[in-house]
């Protein structure tokens, strides 16, 4: 069980190191295969751990410590991996979906001059993510947390000759660094009070802390989770992160890394339960994000940005679920979302690949006729995203919506937001679908489309797409509340759903019915506007402008943080730098040189003067010691 976990952690790192060390001595293709192989070996390790844990019973999780990593007084942190239901579930998702996406990258990145660097980064990312989910204590979790931020930065800025990509990478890094900092502060408080960052000790300690302290810790953790998972108000980096290659968006900014916040809440839920207010703030944050992101997605014109906003919105659902206490539902949605969102990105990647890099949906109309298979699989992914029976999203999203109903009046607000979000999901998803796929191919699509030996892409791209299509269509059946709940039962020992987040059967059915109806309604409106053209796009210039500016978050941050600091810097330059520092420079130099001229006379180059000085020094010291003592 533990061997599998170590294998799962270090196989991708070995892959990354191997590609880096081999450098140009291996062909580009080989780098892709090494990377893919290393991630699939990790998947093997994950399956091994999972099966072993299942045969032992899911409450027999284990921690294995390789050595003491850090020691300072009584504070001790080991390099340890944790195998428990939550971590094995994440291991399976990360390495499984990750392996498929790395395989897909072989086709997608073919011919890029820096393929090897790309694959080294990808393997390194999988390693970082494994460290995050498998780390046996909070410090290793934080280390993984930082490393995924680094890999994300490297991969967003992979095409470093594009200034926009470099800017997006920086933005993502800074936003995430903010989250890392709040998390680190929370950990300092924990260390101060418990002297340990082991999960078990920290969670017991959280029970004895004062309410303010535990609220602070939870708030710090929530800051980290929100930054990593792109929740309002720390969300602005995610849409810009689409500057990276499409498989990167699929793996990091849809399936795995951005959902780490949900994992963090589920993992540290004993702390959040002590700070129930903060936990409900997380739920509210999720509800707000899912609405805002859904609205902004309605007006985006870049195919990847639409999907990016939809990712934010779906993570909003996960935060909502985890926030009210339905951790298993949040994690289940995380899993199905990994399937269908990776698939959507891969589909978008196939279209972009076939159209030689074009991402603007206004030019893409009618691509479905040229790429029928892509169209079908995109349709399945979209239906799963909207949550239409029997596709994956139906099972996971509806149970989250139902879970909010017992939290009092606040729960009803969340419930309303989640249902409105379901309508928006249907609308923006099928707006994208109807604009891009059906109908006659646009002139641009006809002109630029090129197929791949009669296929819609190289086979390395088509196989992962096929596998994920099956998973998106059928992957939700493992949990069908309230009939069978495999995921909830599996996670029960580590992240038990709170009683307040368990809906009655009636609530479940009503929510499911409403969500399904609203999703279908959204699709119908999308069809009427973009499919058949029977309705015109509503003309609300003010609203549209606000949405196109993404509700002015970037502008607000610019005015709030960037402009004042830039102004302060200008003033400092004018009032301090120029008159004092710069003016002082030449004088300082002159003085130093004068002093040097004076002192240099001492250096005669003659041995005897040196000896004389030495002797005089000794004599003075002797006198000092004898007389003064």
């Amino acid at each position: 069980m533990i061997t599998g976990a170590w294998l799962c952690l270090f196989a991708p790192l070995a892959g990354a190191v191997l590609i880096t060390l081999c450098g140009t001595r291996i062909p580009r293709r080989a780098a892709g295969w090494i990377s893919t192989l290393s991630v699939f070996i990790a998947f093997g390790g994950a399956v091994w751990s999972f099966l072993a844990l299942r045969s032992h019973g899911s409450d027999h999780g284990a921690i294995s410590t390789a050595w003491t990593w850090l020691e300072s007084g009584s504070f001790k942190v080991g390099l340890s991996v944790l195998v428990d239901p939550l971590s094995t579930m994440m291991m399976l998702i990360v390495t499984g979906v990750g392996g498929l996406i790395v395989l897909y990258s072989i086709g997608y990145m073919d011919g890029d001059p820096e393929e090897r660097r790309y694959f080294a980064y990808m393997s390194f990312f999988v390693f970082s993510m494994q460290l995050l989910v498998q780390g046996g204590n909070l410090l290793l979790l934080l280390a993984g947390w930082g490393l995924v931020g680094l890999s994300s930065y490297l991969l967003i800025g992979f095409w470093h000759e594009k200034p926009s990509a470099v800017a997006a990478a920086k933005k993502a890094f800074v936003m995430n660094a903010f989250g890392d900092a709040t998390m680190a502060l929370a950990f300092f408080v924990l260390i101060f009070h418990s002297g340990s960052l082991e999960f078990a000790t920290s969670f017991t300690t959280a029970g004895h802390l004062s309410q303010t302290t535990v609220n602070l810790v939870a708030l710090g953790l929530l800051g980290g989770a929100a930054a990593k998972s792109a929740q309002i108000p720390l969300h602005t980096w995610l849409p810009d992160a689409m500057e990276g290659p499409t498989p990167v968006s699929a793996l990091i900014h849809a399936a795995t890394m951005v959902t780490a916040g949900v994992y963090l809440i589920a993992r540290t839920h004993p702390i959040f339960e002590q700070a129930r207010t903060i936990e409900l703030v997380a739920a509210g944050m999720g509800a707000l994000t899912l609405l805002v992101a859904g609205l902004v997605a309605l007006v985006q014109t870049d195919i990847k940005r639409v999907i990016a906003y939809s990712t934010m919105s779906q993570i909003g659902y996960m935060f909502l679920g985890a926030g009210v206490g339905a951790y298993a539902n949040g994690m289940f949605h995380l899993m199905t979302h990994a399937f269908f969102k990776a698939l959507l990105f891969m589909g978008a990647g196939l279209v972009i690949h076939a159209l030689a890099g074009e991402q603007d949906i206004r030019k893409m109309g009618g691509i479905g006729k040229l790429m029928p298979w892509t169209r079908w699989m995109f349709l399945i992914a979209s239906l799963a995203l909207v949550g239409i029976f029997p596709f994956a999203g139906f099972f996971s999203k509806d149970s989250i919506i139902a879970a909010t109903l017992n939290v009092g009046w606040y729960g009803y607000v969340l419930w309303g937001a989640a249902l409105a979000g379901a309508f928006l999901t249907g609308l923006y998803t099928f707006r994208l679908y109807f604009i891009v796929f059906p109908g006659e191919p646009s002139a641009f699509a006809e002109e630029h489309h090129h197929d791949h030996h009669g296929l819609e892409g190289p086979w390395t791209m088509l196989i992962p797409v096929g596998v994920l299509t099956v998973l998106s269509a059928a992957g939700g059946w493992i949990q069908f509340s309230p009939y069978w709940q495999l995921v909830t039962d599996w996670l029960d020992p580590v992240a038990r759903t709170l009683g307040v987040a368990e809906p009655t059967n009636t609530q479940e059915w009503v929510s499911t019915g409403l969500a399904l109806g609203l999703g279908l309604g959204g699709m119908a409106v999308a069809y009427a506007i973009y499919g058949s053209g029977r309705l015109a796009v509503p003309r609300l210039p003010a609203v549209q402008r606000a949405l196109e500016h993404k509700l002015y978050f970037d502008e607000a941050y610019d005015a709030l943080f960037f402009k004042p600091s830039a102004a302060l810097a200008t003033q400092l330059r004018r009032l301090v730098e120029d008159p004092f520092v710069l003016a002082a420079g030449p004088d300082l130099g002159e003085t130093a040189m004068d002093a040097g001229r004076l002192v240099r006379r001492l250096q005669t180059g003659m041995l005897r003067t040196y000896v004389l000085f030495l002797g005089m020094g000794m004599a003075v010291m002797a006198v000092v010691f004898l007389v003064v003592r």
Partner: protein, 107 residues
């Protein structure tokens, strides 16, 4: 050890001779210009110090001073190695064997 303290002259004599040797050496280092002689004078200074160390060790009946003396000898031997090496190198390159004329470090 205490009983087998200094036989013969008292400690003052030993320290006097040690100081005398040190003085001769120091004078040699200061006034001679041949690097070879300078090195020799250095050795005499070190031996003066050694003599003082051993004399004090005997008088105090304590072995520590002798260990110091051994360490000083080891240092002296290595120092002579380097010093003589330098002198040979100077000679090979036909540079003047005169410490006053080797003054390239003058500021």
């Amino acid at each position: 050890m205490q009983g087998a303290a200094l036989l013969g002259p008292g400690i003052v004599w030993y320290v006097g001779i040690a100081g005398f040797l040190f003085g001769i050496g120091a004078l040699g280092v200061l006034v001679r210009r041949n690097p070879l002689i300078v090195l020799l004078s250095l050795e005499i200074m070190l031996n003066g110090a050694n003599l003082a160390l051993i004399a004090f060790a005997r008088s105090a009946g304590n072995g520590a001073g002798q260990i110091f003396a051994l360490a000083v000898m080891a240092v002296a031997a290595s120092e002579v190695c380097v010093g003589l090496g330098l002198v040979v190198a100077l000679h090979r390159r036909r540079l003047p064997l005169d410490v006053d004329r080797l003054s390239e470090l003058r500021g």
